[in-house]
């Protein structure tokens, strides 16, 4: 039923290999599955865009990869291999050694990620000293280098600042510098530019891409914005209701989407509207309905109630279908390349 997703690196073990990863939450009414049986791979120096609406489980996927899922959540099953080493089941101490050293993570809001009462140098030096047995002075030098690498002017001065003395963009650069400090193999970036101005967003995107490519670092970029992915990622995973519903190379997914949900997302962008000959004042085309809460997912395909192509078969969990070389969709009836969704996209809504 679940075919192995296509690997981008043939033969050798990729940098990151995730298989059947699931994360659940216990609550009063039972269990909620936030991440449902996802599998993907990432090669060194490659950028993976993880796209989805808020609440689809994309951030939780990031936390699951770095073992930062807070109770009552827990990683329920699956495998995460980094450079061939199985990470699931590692003791807390081993995870701690990995975090910030081999795997780094950057969060969404730069105003909240840095501790407001500690100086930048304190927060950088501690990140080095947690993983390297070097002197404080050496750690300080490393911090300075990292700040310069992310393009912070007067880095020596900035080191002695407190977070509130820096702008939002500057703070996010500091957070990125902290992530880069120990030259990790993998960086998970959870919408790190969403809270920033568009111009700064573009700069940071470009710099991150360059830095990771040069250092051979794998980058998972979590975002709700398809246009960010278009310019940045090599590969794209589209998430819906805890599942990866489509993945493939950026060109494949954005130009020839196979899953109706991806198609719907693309149709909803202004660019697509313009291409359709959209008139000013006309509303953008939208996917009807809204994403269901994780606690009340419909059986079978979770996108079914909003999908114009849904029918009886969608009451069963859809299979992974390889629609092209390196592209797959989780759908009973994927779109063929270039196929559009039925007009007027009213959901047929097979009621469960």
């Amino acid at each position: 039923m679940t075919s192995i997703p296509p690997s981008t690196t043939h033969g050798a073990e990729p940098l990151l290999r995730v298989r059947h990863l699931s994360t659940r939450f216990r609550n009063r009414d039972g269990e909620v599955t936030a991440v449902d049986d996802i599998s993907f791979e990432l090669a060194a120096g490659e950028v993976l865009g993880l796209v989805g609406e808020s609440g689809c489980g994309k951030s939780m996927t990031g936390y699951s990869l770095i073992d930062l899922v807070d109770p009552p959540g827990y990683v329920a099953g699956g495998s995460v291999r980094l450079n061939g080493r199985e990470l699931r089941g590692l003791p807390a101490k081993a995870w701690r050694a990995l975090r910030g050293d081999r795997i780094a993570m950057i969060f969404q809001d730069p105003m909240l990620t840095l501790n407001p009462v500690l100086r930048i140098d304190t927060q950088m030096v501690e990140a080095v000293l947690a993983h390297r047995r070097i002197s404080r002075a050496e750690a300080q030098t490393r911090a300075l280098d990292a700040l310069e690498r992310v393009g912070i002017p007067a880095a020596a001065e900035r080191l002695r600042s407190y977070p509130h003395q820096l702008s939002g963009g500057m703070r996010q650069r500091v957070a990125i510098a902290i992530a880069l400090l120990n030259q990790p193999d993998l960086i998970i970036a959870d919408e790190p530019t969403t809270a920033l101005d568009v111009t700064i967003q573009a700069q940071i995107l470009y710099e991150m891409q360059t830095l990771c490519r040069e250092a051979g670092t794998g980058l998972i970029w979590i975002t709700h914005d398809l246009s960010v992915v278009a310019g940045l990622a090599d590969r794209v995973c589209v998430m819906y209701a805890g599942r990866i519903v489509e993945q493939g190379s950026t060109a494949q997914v954005l130009e020839r989407p196979a899953h109706p949900y991806t198609r719907g997302l693309l149709d909803a962008t202004p660019a697509a509207a313009l291409a359709r000959g959209h008139h000013r004042g006309e509303p953008l085309r939208q996917i009807p309905g809204s994403a269901p809460p994780l606690s009340a997912l419909p059986a079978g395909c979770a996108f079914r109630p909003r999908c114009p192509r849904a029918n009886e078969s969608c009451l069963q969990v859809p299979p992974r279908v390889e629609t092209a070389d390196g592209q797959e969709a989780l759908c009973w009836h994927p779109l063929s390349p270039g196929e559009a969704l039925p007009e007027a996209s009213t959901a047929i809504g097979v009621q469960s």
Partner: protein
Amino acid sequence: MTLFLLRRLLQTAQVLFIMSLLVFVGVYAVGNPLDMLVDPQATAADTARVAAALGLDQPLWVQYWRFLGNALQGDLGNSFLHGTPALQLIVQRLPATLELAVSALLIAVLLGIPLGLWAGLRPDSFGGRTIMAGSILGFSLPTFWVGLMLIMVFSVHLGWLPSGGRGPTREFLGLEWSLLAPGGWRYLLLPALNLALFKLALVIRLTQSGTREALLQDYVRFARAKGLPPHRVVGVHVLKNIMIPVVTVVGLEFGTLIAFSVVTESIFAWPGIGKLLLDSINQLDRPVVVAYLLLIVFIYTLISLVVDLLYAALDPRVRLAGGQTA
């Protein structure tokens, strides 16, 4: 910074002036201390002579004017009963109260922060729930009753600790200290614990809620994502943030510790200013009551100044401007 200090000093002087007026009118305008001081069988002439000697025959505003003039020179009048300067009486007893209050504060902070952290890190554990239930009890129990229970259990029943008095003291820097004298701590422990109880409950609750809140913050998650060991995440990232409200509240509460020492000192016969106040109220010794109140006001304003300075030292976002924190 200098401007800030100047403005604060000016504010302090203002408050002291207003309070001196209120306190003076309040304390001097009601009741007649002559009834107390003069033998009921004394003649009217005798009474008038005593009144003149104490300045009680003058109009109220004259009395206040003289009082204020003297106060500016550090003279708050003589105690009716002891005949010695009221301020001197209080200053003599202040160290005992300060030692008690500081010890209580240390107990509250040194026990309260670790317990609050524990309860905040494990809010659903048995230990965490027990600590929080205990802190509710600490709020509910009246101080004087806890004092009685401490005496009953540790002095009367177990016989471990003395039930009252200050015990031996040793002189250091011109002041008498219980903690420096051998065995002095035995006299200090119960009253300090008694006085600390309410603040202990307060510190526990503040620390617990602060910890729970801090743990949800992105900066704690980011600190964990950096691979920092738990002791550094909690001990530096969490603790440094919760210290801000804790220091503010505890600092401001130091004044109430001194006020509440009235109760503890009277139960444990601790020779501090609280007991002096109680005796003076009972004996209508007004100059001492006035001096006590002015001193308390002074200590209060001093404390709020120190708290503001500490606040600025702890929270880099706060910069001291002319009297305002931004």
